[in-house]
Amino acid sequence: MIRVVLPAHLRTLAQVGGDVEIEVEGNVTQRSVLNALEARFPMLRGTIRDQVTQQRRPFLRFFACSEDVSHEPPDTPLPDAVASGLEPFFIIGAIAGG
């Protein structure tokens, strides 16, 4: 079971109160986590990554085990602690705007 922490606005959109727990089949990577997340919460499609290019939206960052993994290739395995559910996968909105 993978734990995902969403920004507040996306928690509201997905109608969840806290961390999200999702099953991921195969390798646990950014891509497989986001695929599973969007499959379970279709309303999140397009809000984290572009629906066509699959590029991360520029004002969002991905963190795992206190490391910014935003610029890692999407098929790079995430740390074991995330894959085992010990640590969450963070999707964080950049501090910008007003």
Partner: protein
């Protein structure tokens, strides 16, 4: 007794204001989608409790929301806006080619007859249509593809398609407007389009007969006489009596003819409203006085409407989609400001009341007249 429902989009959420036909007391419901930019909300004329809303954010992109109960509850529907084929390029501010990139939905225009059909005007400028209640969107690519698209250039607010008018007597005919490309018309339900900008003069365009490049801010028409169009251009208030084939200036005695919205009275096709703004570099009312101007002669002769509006130290703006008229008798007219006020007049503009004072900056106002 009739009821009136205002759909107000702001920089930080949507609000729904309701009143009875007297339009004296108002209930404010919201914010819906708190913290999100709500560029536009509009109800289906065919099924008034069916609402569509454009929800966007610099962080999370574009969402479309749909309500089937007049805005009490909402559900996100499709938000995949993909340009048809290879998108190509338009001009950037410096005149260099720039690839078409979807940014947001500025305006949603439901079909006059089918609640599941809705049009979306987007930035970078294109027109999309959904026929399944907003679940999926297809571009009407004949607009961008008719030939002048590579010459379109963004206005200061972006290359946005902000106005969509459906001819109520001929649904094959639609008008749209783009900043800063101009106005366009289709006579075959969106398959093919042509520019309708003859007679527009824009001092920043060297060619006085330029087919495109005009910064049209808004177009409006009266449903009983859809061949007559009124336009607020960047500068100049214009009128066309031939469905946009030619335009004449009707700015007349306005204190300034810069502005954003333009609206036509619900029952008087020759009564038109604008909100003059000082200039394109000073986006506030002249002399700090918020005045709506009304012409009862289809333009040229304008009178200021001031009762109930601030007449000193007022420096708000009224954006292009932030005015609306209801269809009651007397005609109600409404507008929202970048200062968060929503003003209403239940007597065609003679007297005004602030029905909301402290909302976030208002981006759009629509009104529904309900049984």
């Amino acid at each position: 007794m009739s009821k009136v429902r205002l759909l107000v989009g702001t920089r930080k959420g949507a609000f729904i204001l309701s009143s009875d036909g007297k339009r004296e007391k108002w209930d404010i419901n919201g914010p819906h989608f708190a913290g999100w930019e709500m560029y536009h909300l509009k109800g289906s004329p065919a099924e008034p409790n069916r609402l569509y809303a454009s929800q966007s954010s610099g962080w999370f992109g574009q969402l479309i929301q749909r309500s089937s109960d007049g805005g009490r509850t909402w559900e996100p529907v499709g938000n995949k806006f993909v340009y048809d084929g290879v998108p190509g390029t338009h001009q950037w501010y410096d005149g260099t080619p720039h690839p078409w990139e979807f940014k947001r939905v500025w305006h949603l225009e439901p079909s006059l007859t089918d609640p599941d059909t809705v049009y979306a005007g987007v930035e970078d400028a294109a027109l999309f249509r959904s026929t399944d209640g907003g679940q999926t969107w297809q571009e009407l690519a004949g607009l961008r593809g008719h030939g002048t698209g590579p010459r379109w250039q963004p206005g200061a607010g972006g290359l946005c398609l902000h106005t969509i008018l459906i001819d109520p007597t001929n649904h094959q005919r639609m008008f749209i407007a783009i900043s800063a490309a101009g106005a366009f018309r289709t006579d075959d339900a969106g398959k093919t389009w042509r520019p309708i900008n003859r007679g527009l003069k824009s001092q920043y365009i060297p060619d006085p007969n330029a087919e495109v490049g005009h910064c049209v801010h808004r177009i409006s028409l009266h449903r009983s006489r859809p061949s007559v169009l009124f336009m607020q251009k960047h500068w100049d208030v214009m009128r066309s009596d031939d469905s946009g084939d030619s335009w004449q200036e009707v700015s007349g005695n306005l204190p300034t003819d810069f502005g954003f919205p333009i609206e036509v009275h619900a029952h008087e096709p020759e009564t038109v409203y604008v909100v003059p703004i000082k200039s394109d570099s000073e986006h506030f009312p002249p002399d700090g006085k918020l005045r709506v101007y009304r012409s009862r002669t289809g333009g040229n002769e304008w009178e200021p409407l001031t009762k109930g509006l601030p007449q000193s130290n007022c420096y708000v703006n009224v954006l292009r989609d932030a005015t609306a008229v209801d269809s009651l008798d007397k005609c109600g007219i409404y507008f929202g400001t970048t200062g968060g006020q929503v003003y209403a007049s239940a007597d065609a503009g003679d007297n005004w009341t602030a029905v909301a004072r402290d909302l976030p900056a208002v981006l759009s106002v629509e009104v529904q007249t309900l049984p």
